[in-house]
């Protein structure tokens, strides 16, 4: 049947060619089929984008953002050529220059800094996915001032996971969707594993598995959850510890699992005045000690045939008292303060609900035990006849992470998973390769800054304790963001949200060049947006900018572009090479390694801008590699000083991080038949393209579970180049590095923190997962600011990017403040009213929308919808600018001053994670007047004459 009675052709031509690449409309990295069809001039155009059915991430589906890729690719906000600032910073006045001039200028600026004091370059990249290259580049350049956006995103989740059990969520682990019997979801942002979570929820719905959503707001995933826990922001840790309390009381704890895989039996020194009080008891050869419950003797934990005790007193060989970690846990978590009745008011979760959920967790874990008849051998050499699963799966993200108590909360969550025995077992949480990678398998952080010299090792890493802090001799921070200082000792992703503020205050020092990529710091990616805009354009007494030079790369005319001195225009995601690498943030599945490429499915030279003019843009990573060659950075030049790599594609193919291990794991070796380890293959990218843009290689079943302790996994991982040797991965219920920082604070261990810090370290660095009041709430008068305020990202928008997208902005063109009925009543507000919302720091005017499916004391809005007028080449009166707003104006990068005037960073004291969600506010009805959000800013000039009014996409094919 090809035509109906009306002559309708039901089998029309679709496209000339399908090119398979990787989506970049958010950070999820789905496989896409890009249908290419020529226009009337014979130029390749994008006809349609759909999900790639073979791809491990999305299995054929595609979200709203991915489906709107056409509008992103043809956005009139795309930059056209390199630009040099001609007006004042922030105005958006530029002249276009040629790439030669731009590269010479950048090389000069960067070269001068490198020859003098490399740390005066702060190189921070935002939402990009090439941290692996950028980190390597920063190391070779010789500046410790590098990080990506993790510090203001979800570092607590990553650090809490890796320090505790050598894994994390999203790229590094996933629920066992096919086997789990109970699923709990805590505070998940939509762009983190977006399609996999939706696909997973669909599987659970099909199997009738219960989904419990823990979130102050009942939208999206929480709307379809079988049960909703409308928790008060910042109290997730308390709720979790109450669940733990109930499980202890019920005796629903997998003690066999704890003894085998965790440090629960390890002895902790109990000798209050001793300098090692609270450290793990060990022999001089570092072997950790346990109490053998059969012999009553203290022996190394890995002694053959030992039956470790979980309670009781022991004497160490030095004669000190010691108790097992588990006994400390029992003492702590059985305390009445975690009784459901005692946390109900603070968490907003009824006691009976906490108690019932604890029972449901226990029932799923222990009464619905599942087994896979698969033999496996553990790292001690013990043979297991089957794989036993405790089918409780948990997933969490920024909602629990972006608080000043987030690290401890994330640790508490993992402790809950671990006591149920549900890490990397059938039906539980599963590691995704190359993970697990415990602390021991990760590098330590490096600093230095010696003229014209690289750093001795990677910039970012995991400190083992106080010795790994990056401190100057006087105890001040080596890094501009003060990561790895006493302010944030385990700031493993850096603290991008502090860079501009610290550089402006020259604390710990001023910088010469700020070099950023895809980070909208002059808008939605900064706390205290108005203040940040001022700092970026502030001048010294001599009339020079306080931050002397700013280089910025972006594909679009974002708010940050207007603050740059030199703008390097990036390509769209359909015009570039990229790698989704096992060395960075991979797309593996629990039972397979997987990685992927992006490649130019259309040539940027043929893709005209909104005014029909030619664009001259370059992929940022190719530009960085070019700069590396020009600056003659080790790793980027040959011995004769000539550039080592032509561009990013060349780097992806030929860079070797270690011998025969490179960015891509598939089709290695001269013949392209090696996986993981193998010589570079010049045809590698082409082989990926032919394979659908990705590569996947499955793990044998015997190695698929218990990877932390599975001999087969370690053998396989070593063979594939994922790890070099077997790495012990005992889950750290008790995190000794935190105790070491406490010992420093107690004056028992060197180095000593400055006078301002000891109390906070003693209070917050509990080596067992803990909960304390979020800092902002503790620092203000709760009667004055009685409510919580949050943002969340909509499913159909990703950061600011979506705003210039003609289709997505019709879905989210402005954002109201959603206010629960209780607050409306207290503040005398009606649906549609305008109101002033204030914090200790700022005041915004917004339109409100009454909503009931939200925690009664919490208002919320969509993230990053509001825009600066004129940015993203939207008309200055666009709803994004006039009706949209940012909550960021209320959030300061510093906490309210203490009585002594000291102002702490508004961050987690352990990791430096930006505490966005600690925000406390009040709300008052606004006087009648213009219905425009406040604050407003002078419109940003676009530099491109606007010509696009109506869009009729696809007209050339439909007529």
């Amino acid at each position: 049947m090809n035509a109906d009675v009306r002559g309708l052709d039901t089998s029309p031509h679709v496209s000339d060619e399908v090119r398979k690449t990787t989506c970049y409309m958010c950070a999820c990295r789905c496989g896409i089929n890009v249908h290419i069809r020529k226009d009337e001039n014979g130029v390749d155009k994008v006809r349609y984008i759909e999900g790639n059915r073979d791809h491990p991430i999305n299995k054929g589906v595609l979200c709203a953002k991915g489906s709107a890729g056409i509008m992103q690719h043809y956005s009139p906000a795309r930059l056209r050529k390199p630009m040099l600032r001609v007006g004042e910073r922030g105005k958006g006045e530029f002249k276009e220059i040629e790439w030669d001039e731009a590269m010479e200028l950048a090389t000069k600026w960067l070269g001068d800094v490198r020859a003098k004091d490399p740390k005066k370059l702060a190189y921070f990249t935002g939402r990009d996915q090439s941290q692996c290259l950028n980190g390597f580049w920063a190391q070779q350049y010789g500046t410790q001032n590098f990080a990506s956006h993790g510090g203001f995103c979800s570092v607590n989740m990553a650090a809490g996971g890796i320090y505790t059990f050598g894994g994390a969520f999203w790229e590094f682990g996933a629920p066992d969707w096919d086997k789990t019997e109970l699923f709990m979801l805590f505070g998940v942002a939509e762009d983190h594993d977006s399609n996999p979570i939706k696909l997973g929820l669909a599987k659970l719905k099909e199997r009738g598995v219960k989904v419990i959503g823990v979130n102050p707001v009942r939208t999206g995933y929480n709307a379809i959850a079988d049960e909703w826990v409308g928790i008060t922001p910042g109290t997730d840790g308390l709720f979790i510890l109450s669940l733990v309390h109930e499980l202890f009381k019920m005796g629903k704890i997998d003690v066999d699992y704890l003894i085998r895989y965790t440090n629960a039996p390890w002895l902790v020194i109990d000798d209050e005045d001793a300098p090692n009080h609270g450290l793990i008891a060990r022999l001089p050869d570092d072997r950790r000690l346990v109490l053998d419950r059969n012999t009553g003797k203290v022996v190394p934990f890995d002694t053959k045939g030992v039956k470790p005790a979980l309670k009781g007193f022991a004497k160490t060989p030095e004669g000190q008292n010691a108790v097992p970690v588990f006994e400390l846990m029992a003492r702590k978590y059985l305390d009445d303060k975690y009784e459901p009745e005692n946390v109900a008011e603070r968490t907003g979760v009824p006691a009976e609900q906490i108690r019932r959920i604890a029972r449901e967790l226990a029932e799923a874990a222990f009464e619905k035990e599942i087994t896979i008849d698969q033999e496996w051998i553990d790292l001690k050499g013990e043979k297991h006849s089957k794989m036993i699963g405790r089918p409780v799966a948990i997933h969490a993200m920024r909602g629990i992470s972006a608080h000043s108590n987030g690290f401890q909360t994330c640790r508490a969550l993992h402790m809950l998973q671990i006591i149920l025995g549900s890490i990397d077992c059938p039906g539980g949480y599963r590691f995704k390769p190359p993970y697990p990678k415990p602390m021991k398998a990760q590098p330590q952080p490096h600093g230095g800054s010696i003229p014209n010299m690289p750093l001795a090792g990677p910039v970012l890493g995991l400190p083992r304790g106080p010795k790994d802090l990056l401190l100057e001799k006087d105890g001040t921070a080596k890094r501009i963001d003060k990561a790895y200082s006493w302010d944030a000792p385990l700031a493993v992703h850096g603290m991008m949200h502090m860079v501009i503020s610290n550089a402006f205050n020259k604390d710990p020092y001023g910088i010469d060049v700020l070099f950023m990529y895809m980070a909208n710091m002059a808008w939605n990616s900064s706390m205290n947006t108005s203040g940040t805009m001022k700092m970026l354009s502030a001048k010294d007494d001599d009339g020079e900018y306080v931050i002397p030079k700013i280089i910025y790369s972006d594909a679009y005319n974002s708010e940050m572009v207007s603050y740059a001195d030199l703008v390097l225009p990036d390509t769209t995601y359909l015009e570039r090479h990229d790698v989704v690498s096992l060395l960075g943030r991979p797309i593996s599945e629990p039972d397979a390694i997987a990685d992927a490429v992006r490649w130019p499915v259309v040539d940027s030279a043929t893709q005209l801008d909104g005014e029909g003019k030619k664009r001259d843009v370059r992929g940022f990573q190719s530009v960085v590699i070019d700069l590396g060659g020009r600056l003659k950075l080790p790793g980027f030049v040959n011995e004769d000083g000539t550039p080592k790599f032509k561009d990013y594609a060349d780097y992806i193919t030929n860079h070797e991080r270690t011998h025969e291990v490179g960015p891509l794991s598939g089709f290695r070796g001269k013949k392209g038949n090696k996986t993981g380890r193998g010589a570079p293959n010049p045809d590698q990218i082409q082989r990926y393209i032919e394979n659908g843009g990705f590569f996947i290689h499955h793990i044998p079943l015997k190695a698929q579970y218990f990877k932390h302790a599975n001999r087969h996994w370690h053998d396989w991982a070593i063979e594939k180049g994922i790890q070099d040797h077997v790495t012990e991965n005992i889950f750290r219920l008790y995190l000794e590095p935190l105790r070491k920082f406490q010992l420093c604070a107690e004056g028992k261990l060197e180095p000593t923190p400055p006078e301002s810090h000891p109390q906070r370290i003693k209070d917050c660095f509990n080596p067992l997962p803990d909960w304390y009041e979020p800092f902002e709430g503790a620092g203000i008068d709760p009667k004055e600011y009685p409510y919580n305020a949050l943002t969340q990202r909509p499913a159909a928008m990703y950061h600011s990017w979506g705003s210039q997208n003609a289709w997505l902005r019709q879905i989210h063109g402005s954002n109201p403040m959603y206010v629960p009925g209780k607050i409306c009543k207290e503040a005398g507000l009606e649906d549609g009213d305008w109101a002033w919302v204030s914090s200790h720091h700022g005041k915004i005017k917004v339109q409100i929308k009454r909503m009931e499916a939200v925690n009664a004391n919490t208002m919320w809005t969509w993230n990053a919808i509001g825009k600066r007028s004129g940015a993203w080449n939207l008309s200055p009166d666009a709803p994004e600018a006039k009706k949209g707003f940012l909550l960021n104006h209320l959030i300061h990068e510093l906490l309210p001053p203490k009585s002594d005037g000291m102002r702490w960073s508004n961050s987690d004291p352990i990791t430096g994670q930006a505490a966005w969600f600690d925000l406390r506010v009040k709300i008052e009805k606004a006087e009648p007047g213009d219905e425009v959000t406040q604050p407003q800013f002078e419109p940003q000039k676009s530099g491109i004459e606007k010509t696009v009014t109506n869009v009729e996409y696809g007209k050339e094919w439909t007529k």
């Binding site: 999206g220 009976e352 609900q353 499913a795 008309s875 439909t958």
Partner: protein
């Protein structure tokens, strides 16, 4: 005035699961990108980057808040597109014969060459499922991807509507609702699928599956406190637990 076929060979349509739809808009946007370069005029966007952007969409998601007396408020996401009614008032009201229902499969379409943009059909539709294209001024509606489902240029597995193929939550199903043995008919029977606004007498082909019952926070389960723990205290329980490990 256009007549409806007395019966159709098939009743192709969608089954939309309100228990599973997370309101992500994937179906909405994927529909737009497929259809803007496909059937008839593009789906235009007026003032696309300006103060009042307005575009034509064939599928939209409406969000409702439900406030039961004895349970916390909840949100229902409600995707809505043409329901390809058996008694489609949009067809019979059309003065030019542009609106028609196919006798082969029951799909309701607009023959854009005959459409004069009078908008009567949109007034007649009780669901508000038709939209006037703001740029081309022709009436737009869901075609059930009639240019996909029979399209021999697409792999067979892709011959389904774009919204169904793309739905990440698998909340959308496509098939013949006239065949009681089809997967979609069975799903409707199992899950109590319902007509949208049956009182309008339009006999919609598309069906909705209702949200499942949620657990209320105050639901209490039978107390079966672990007696062992109670009697022996936690450390006593621990002794037993370790003993069982051997």
């Amino acid at each position: 005035m256009t007549t409806l076929p007395s019966s159709t060979d098939k009743k192709l349509g969608l089954v939309i699961d309100l228990d599973t739809c997370v309101g992500c808009h994937a179906c909405v946007v994927n529909c737009k990108e497929w259809n803007t370069g496909g059937y008839g005029e593009p789906l235009g966007d007026k003032d696309a980057y300006g103060a009042e952007p307005v575009g034509a969409w064939l599928n939209r998601i409406h969000t409702f808040e439900v406030q039961p007396d004895n349970a916390p408020a909840s949100i229902v996401h409600f995707p809505k597109s043409c329901l390809h009614c058996e008694d489609a008032p949009c067809v019979t009201v059309c003065p030019t014969g542009a609106s028609y229902k196919r006798s082969e499969d029951g799909i309701v379409l607009v023959d854009e060459d005959k459409c004069m943009g009078c908008g009567l059909c949109a007034w007649a539709c009780p669901y508000g499922a038709r939209e006037m294209d703001p740029v081309a001024n022709v009436m737009k509606k869901c075609t059930l991807c009639v240019d996909r489902i029979y399209n021999e240029n697409l792999p067979e597995e892709d011959r389904i509507p774009a919204c169904v193929r793309t739905c990440p939550a698998k909340a959308r199903h496509f098939g013949d609702l006239g065949d009681p043995g089809s997967d979609v008919s069975k799903l409707v029977a199992e899950r109590g699928g319902f007509d949208l606004m049956p009182e309008m007498g339009t006999r919609p082909v598309n069906q909705y599956l209702p949200p499942r019952k949620k657990t209320r926070p105050d639901t209490v389960v039978a107390q079966h406190e672990n007696q062992k723990v109670k009697a022996q205290g936690f450390l006593g329980w621990l002794d037993n637990a370790l003993e069982q490990l051997g």
